[in-house]
């Protein structure tokens, strides 16, 4: 479904992502791990069109992605969350999700300005869709709260809800469990599984919480200093000497 072939990006003399190749197939729960500064988020930025790769290719469902602007990537069916939460702060929780759901709108601007019945109907539909998603992520009770007033864990869940509202086939989660306590991260584990099983989305995620990654992901790629150092199922990664040296460390 998603294929990176020798993707490379250089910022001046710095090679942030160097010759990385991996393939995510439909229905995967795919993990992207590595120490800080390894180029994980940069990988996400390459996929979602924030940056254009210096060389190499990124293909989504056989279509070349590199150079496609972010909003186009979202329309093609890839949605993401942000590591440093980027909600629309002054908007309500519901509105945040409706912005994303609006991607699939059909009614034109003119009807909206004239407040025609089809626009009213569509707005209601989008709100209902958004509300249904908020229920899945247990955010329905705070739907009308301003998003910046939410506690941290809820803001992270809202990021996921917002990304899901674009109805993507591939969901990129950038450190979804960051700053969560064990209880919250267990809840999140269930939610991510539900996203895959119930909503048929493929998930590619960056995470530092190893318990979370090893429990959840079926396939993992490890990056270090922009290079790919290992790839495989969790068991193989856990015992891979290179990964232990670069990232996991010796078991004490």
């Amino acid at each position: 479904m998603l294929e990176l072939n020798n993707a490379t990006i250089k910022f001046g003399g710095l090679v942030a992502v160097n010759d990385v190749s991996f393939a995510v197939s439909k229905g995967d729960l795919f993990g992207l791990i590595g120490p800080n500064g390894a180029g994980k988020t940069t990988c996400f930025n390459l996929i979602t069109g924030v940056y254009k790769p210096t060389s190499g290719s990124i293909k989504f469902k056989g279509r070349e992605l590199s150079g496609t602007p972010s909003n186009k990537v979202a329309q093609l069916g890839i949605a993401r969350t942000f590591q440093n939460i980027r909600l629309f702060r002054a908007l309500s929780v519901l509105e945040n999700v409706v912005v994303a759901a609006f991607l699939r709108h059909r009614v034109g601007l003119a009807s909206a300005i004239a407040d025609l019945p089809n626009s009213i109907r569509e707005t209601q539909e989008l709100k209902d869709q958004a509300m249904a998603l908020l229920e899945v992520l247990h955010l329905d009770k705070v739907a009308h709260t301003r998003s910046c007033d939410l506690p941290y864990g809820m803001q992270r869940r809202l990021e996921i809800a917002r990304a899901m509202a674009t109805q993507p086939e591939l969901l990129l989660l950038d450190e979804p469990a960051a700053g969560m306590n064990p209880q919250e991260s267990d809840d999140l584990l269930r939610v991510v599984r539900q996203i895959r099983d119930q909503f048929n989305m493929t998930v590619l995620l960056i995470e530092h919480d190893m318990r979370f990654v090893m429990n959840l992901c079926e396939k993992i790629v490890v990056l270090d200093h922009g290079c790919e150092i290992a790839q495989g199922p969790p068991e193989a990664i856990r015992s891979n000497p290179k990964v232990i040296e670069a990232y996991l460390g010796e078991p004490v």
Partner: protein, 397 residues
Amino acid sequence: MKYWPTRVVSILAGLGACFLISAAADASGNDYTKRLVVLAGVWVILSVSLNLINGITGQFSIGHAAFWQVGAYSAGIISVQHYANSGITGLPWLLLMMVAGAIFAALAGLVVGLPSLRLRGDYLAIVTLGFGEIIRIIVQNQKPLGEAYGMNVSPKFQFTWLVWLTAFAAIAICRNLLKSAHGLPFLAVREDEVAASAMGVNVTRVKVTAFLIGSALAGVAGALFAHYEGFISPQQFRMEQSFIILTMVVLGGTGSITGSVLAAAALFYLPEKLRDMGPVTGGQLMAGAFATVLAVYLVKRVIDHFHGTKKEAAIRHLGIVLGCMALSFVLSIVLNQVPVLANARYEAEKLRMVIFSGVLIILMLVRPQGLLGHAEFSWEWLKRVLGQRRSEAAQTS
């Protein structure tokens, strides 16, 4: 409530309001009052349209008077050159000129918008500011446009109701946009462009749309203004005017349509009221300024520290303000003992810009989000407030 009945009733109510305003202006029987009513409508259109660009989409544009000017001059010159041989007269011609003003101003919006929308914040502000000046100077150097002397626009069309109908239309456009899901991408661009783009919002398109609608509305205001006044000159569209429009938007609360309308009316009538006031002495001026600052400071302190019921807080604020007014009166008598201060005379109207900036500074200190913040007037809100009153009354009785 059913859709069509509500729609028909609200449109009829809007039309009715326009004719009421018009009738009231006519009934006053003096041209000065009538002109004030019309110009207030023009300013409402201008501030509501800038609010769409500045408050709702978050694009800091400070050259709005340029779009107004483009609308006024393009409609004006077409009228002067083609009205006589067009065969169209009266209202239809004016409507045509409004469309022309809108189209030319929207084109100007596109010209300034497309290259500069990659810029953010301060940089966009500088570009729009420069653009405003460029337009004014170009106009000032065109022979057919009357250069710096200005241009007579004939025929004059003085339809008070039409100006207010346009103002209501501008309000309706913004309100409908915000009510539908279509408005959310505009707000999303204001909040976070990167995130908006990742959610599939075409950021450039949203910004250009906002600029197009906003500048087209300003152009319509220009066409109406030119044909009402019958005379336009570059002096009427100085940078100062752009800042007044911006002040209206910021004062009302960036993003709030209700706020823009209220602030436009208030800031338009304030200088006119100041005109009626006689000159003040230096002593009075100093005492007034001192007392205002003191009152604002104290009210701010009370807001910060006081967590009582609203009613008590309101009484306390009122007390502070009244106290400061009394203080100001006493102080002005004392200060007027100083001959220099007593002999200095200031025309209140000429202090307009000073007062504006003072008001803005005070506002930024006390309420940085503007008078209304992001809040809007709505019937639900009114119902809720009235409902509370009623339930309170029921409880006490």
